[in-house]
Subunit: 189 residues, 2 copies
């Protein structure tokens, strides 16, 4: 075994991966167990029920979200830049957990929905504080949501290379929204 508590993480990874790749329907206990290289009994040893598995994933997301929150506040390029850019940064553990939980939220899983709403709210307040105008902040948040919608539903909208250019372009457009100050990180002053 690679690491002591790796089985739990492997199961969570498998669950997440199945949710992202094939949706809630396909993320059955058997499928998760198989993907994690564990037997069904083994899975249920670590997570006593499917609800427990879901809770485990949500907790994981919350942990990532807390870390992201700190990084966001410390982002040198400003909050807007940070939030927009990380909206499509596929492959990070945080993004994957977020998309997986959003699949869950499409069902009627209440906790998944509220957790997602909380993460979103945190972003929006941070942007509002950075940008000043709450209406502008909402517009920017909606762009971020749209970015997620696209990567979640349609699977990105370009290759990684073209995406970076597209991101710069998008941020340049968005900079027009902030009336005050220059299109910069809204430095302190």
């Amino acid at each position: 075994m690679p690491r002591p508590d790796s089985a739990r993480d492997r199961i969570l990874d498998a669950f997440q991966g199945l949710l992202i790749a094939s949706g809630e329907r396909a993320a059955t206990l058997d499928a998760v167990a198989a993907a994690a290289g564990v037997s069904k009994g083994g899975l249920l040893y670590h997570f006593a029920s499917k609800d427990a598995l879901v809770d485990g994933l949500i907790e994981r997301l919350e942990a990532f979200a807390a870390a992201d929150d700190e990084r966001m506040r410390a982002a040198p390029e400003g909050t807007v830049d940070y939030v927009i850019r990380t909206s499509v940064e596929e492959g990070t553990p945080f993004d994957e957990a977020l998309i997986a939980v959003s699949r869950l939220a499409q069902g009627s899983h209440e906790k998944a929905r509220t957790t997602l709403a909380a993460v979103r709210a945190r972003w929006e307040t941070a942007i509002a504080a950075d940008v000043g105008d709450p209406a502008v902040a909402r517009a920017i948040m909606l762009v971020s949501d749209g970015l997620y919608y696209n990567s979640t539903l349609l699977g990105a909208f370009g290759t990684t290379d073209s995406r970076d250019g597209a991101m710069d372009e998008l941020l340049a457009v968005l900079a027009r929204l902030t009336p005050t100050a220059s299109p910069g990180p809204a430095a302190a002053s």
Copy 2:
């Protein structure tokens, strides 16, 4: 019986409603039949399989989308105004069908995904034609997507009354993005 061909529509409505309210998982044949006030046998008389039911819903969406497309091109307030406003106009048959199909697309239903992408593409080209700058068009499309993401996942973001005001505010903010020409034929002043 109310109307001759109402059974089919009622079934589609029920399927749609279940998808929106409780996700793909809950939209089983039994549940759909019960919600439509039809027996399971009755449901399967109209739709030979669950795939046929899904196809029926997608066809319905395509019909609505075609009608919407025409309305959009003829919209007096301009394409942007039309697309943004209809993004949260909950309750219209078109919106409901769209959200229902997007639930399907969260699973691995390929046709649902491509249909959604087609609708989105149609909007984006229309906006691009109206606005000029493709980068601005994409930003606006992302806001529309974000609006859908919100109404889909988090369930709107305000009451109907406050939403109209919020919409006006949002459109005013978005008007700043179009550098050329006036902020659109809307409201003016």
